[in-house]
Symmetry: C2
Amino acid sequence: MQIVKNIERMQKIADKLREEKKIIGFVPTMGYLHSGHLNLVKLAKEKSDIVVMSIYVNPTQFGPNEDFSKYPRNFERDEKLAKEEGVDIIFYPESMYKDNLTFVNVENITKLLCGESRPTHFRGVATIVSKLFNIVKPHLAVFGQKDAQQVAVIQKMIDDLNFDIKLVLSPIIREKDGLAISSRNVNLNEKDRKNATILVESLRFIKRQIDEGNTNLKELIEQAKKMIELTPNAKLDYYSVVSYPEIRKIDKLEKKTLIALAVYFGKVRLIDNMIIGE
Amino acid sequence: MQIVKNIERMQKIADKLREEKKIIGFVPTMGYLHSGHLNLVKLAKEKSDIVVMSIYVNPTQFGPNEDFSKYPRNFERDEKLAKEEGVDIIFYPESMYKDNLTFVNVENITKLLCGESRPTHFRGVATIVSKLFNIVKPHLAVFGQKDAQQVAVIQKMIDDLNFDIKLVLSPIIREKDGLAISSRNVNLNEKDRKNATILVESLRFIKRQIDEGNTNLKELIEQAKKMIELTPNAKLDYYSVVSYPEIRKIDKLEKKTLIALAVYFGKVRLIDNMIIGE
């Protein structure tokens, strides 16, 4: 496994791989790898000749009062895990911005859900992903459904800016007790960690109700919100129902419906979601 | 010479050329080719194996009351001229936007000059050039200095988004009487066409004064503005002095200083500029 820190060098390697007709699969991450990331790598390996993983905690997708500095980092551990999983190249830049003035904005679908709570978040995501696409030059890139709105934003950006890159979607990977795996889970204390399963439990409650024919979404969301509110130390950020991938507010099931929530336990913000109608 | 209208086909051709280690030179245009464009092609041919010219009148860089519909178009003529000049591929898409929600914004350097008169212009330019870069996949792209602010914006976008593309600059090409060559010149009536040389004459007046040691830029700009104001049917849009390529307002000469102006003759808007200190 090769570790590349220099942008121009990564571009040269990508050019060479493409000349050799190798398919480049890309897994962008912020590091602190967990089994969710490793599942992205597995998918990338299935569909490509060379897997490039980027590890970079991107400052522009964090708001001024968010957890950029507290975001967990451990490169040695990441390096070991990536190697075990068969990553070919880690792109690990020290810095990615130099007097940056250019931003990529995806309008409309970034307004609700996490875009509402974190107004500059998706601008930062679209900008860094554009940069990484231009550096790694992949044929395909793998993203996790846990960040469902991010997937919708990146797919729209790929379409609108004509990136010649296929987005491959990986399902949400969960702990045994159902909690969606996230790098941030490590920042939860023991009690919050136990209670954090309320996110997936509330989604499963809604799913069961829908499967049984109760499609009164407003009522179901109210119920689910109460489940969160009654959980010790849990503070609801949002619990929303939107069309997917357009991320428009809806009040009844559409062809594809995204039910998504964000919850704070102390300063740790967790998200989870499910897509109905896939 | 090949004419390619389909986006995916153009991307496939670019991939193949790159596999064959051909250097792709790119000349983006809005068509209605003139000797300024043909000079861009000459430069591209010198520096690359295959020259791709795009012809597309990009709606997103025109404001609501601007001359999008009146912008001159003549593909048959363009095709002939491009072929004569040795263009290898014309990329001539019918439409480039489909429910577009994604925009590329370059901040700060788009605020003054044409960015002030045309507030969404450079957002449209950066967005279409990003799209074309992702479709044509060139090694280098040639732009004309006549659009000096555009060159600064594109170079900054290339740097910030890590496009692996070299920007090649072509000088301003002029008619015998000094008028900067532009597709819009054809929309001038005979009298305005004659008077339009006032743009370059006012710049040459400033240049001579500076060469003679008069660096009171404020006074020189005032004088130059009067030259425009006294010209029949000429209406000044702006006459500005800025640092280059940062496009910041300055009041004395910097390492590189851009002096730029825009003037209306009736509905026809003409621009011209010079860079001092190159």
